[in-house]
Symmetry: C2
Subunit: 237 residues, 2 copies
Amino acid sequence: MAPRWKWKGAEAKALAEPVSKTVSELRSSLTQTEALGFLSSCNVLLSVESEEAELLDRCCFGRLVVGAEKDKRWIQLSFEEAFFLFYKLKCIKICLHGRSLENEVDLWRSMSSFKQDFAILYKAYSHLRSKNWIVRSGLQYGVDFVVYRHHPSLVHSEYAVLVQSIGGNDRLKVWSDIHCSVRLTGSVAKSLLVLYVNRKVNTEKMNLPLCLEDYTVEEQTIRRWSPELSREDETRT
Amino acid sequence: MAPRWKWKGAEAKALAEPVSKTVSELRSSLTQTEALGFLSSCNVLLSVESEEAELLDRCCFGRLVVGAEKDKRWIQLSFEEAFFLFYKLKCIKICLHGRSLENEVDLWRSMSSFKQDFAILYKAYSHLRSKNWIVRSGLQYGVDFVVYRHHPSLVHSEYAVLVQSIGGNDRLKVWSDIHCSVRLTGSVAKSLLVLYVNRKVNTEKMNLPLCLEDYTVEEQTIRRWSPELSREDETRT
């Protein structure tokens, strides 16, 4: 399925401003100002200046929380977004109960304790982000993520992503669930992308972010087979 | 959600020809001609005359199979449809491998052996049919059935039905599946109806159609809560 750009010229604008470049800008800016996030049991609130809030929005990290302060902006990040900025881009600091979590292991453990399948979801999130996809919550479509080729103001999301792992959640175990997911994603012009996140070996370092290297990610798209579309085209022969 | 009639006057037509009346007509007609069905491992092929084929279509039992014979019509019935006509309406006979299955227990056992969750699905099907809903396959929406207030030529289906039982299929176990199902059924203007079919007591007659009396059916609709729609209406006060 070809990307569905939202307006004429959107594709050219996207090509002129690659996501990777904007993420680099964001990284430099956040590092310089030593942005600080506050961890709670369900998200991370990041305190930034208005310029950085704009950069975060251009890269689609988090959502702006409406506040009364003039220069300060509060951005609500999901655990995956916050850990990506902290661990992969190394451009924010995060504190819990007023204490800065300098150590990545501490943060990993805190987040894993708050969210059971954090390790698997983070692996999938960082896998997609590393390929410069824009990743947002897929809550409204009953999936884990939706991914965009560029900023959502330019293009519709192309994939609805379900993250699967051995012993993980109970999705796509029966045909009716597969039918339901394929029909829904099809009706909103997306493809269903299933990421199978599996451990290579059974190591003991599962509590550490180091275990991320022991995961493999297998990508599969699932779609309806349409006999009409798959039949040999007689006009072409 | 109000029923969505397909054209002006459809509601009046439906009121003038209640489903229960057409089913009675069908019953008399099929009993008179001693209609015979042939059981295979996935459906029942019913041999009828053209008038009865029309009556079956008006009641939405089965689908017409295209054939070359002039006066004879072949109707493909699902197990639930065939067993309902055989056991509840007592208006067709069914044979397997050329031998007529006079005994309802034999047919019940054959169908249960071909289709693991037949007992549960049949209970749900007959529950809905007994209330004069028209019941069709919900395959394309990833549910077990869709139900119509009257013939599909007059009205759109109102409910997408998922049949659940203890130890049954793995649907609606996680939030993302519920989100997916509610979003999909909402997008096609249906409500998600969940039928919980449970055994009252643990009897030993589970192999017999008699066990149908030991099942209870609990009905629940699941829908999205919309704050805007649920908020107190200021214009009304």
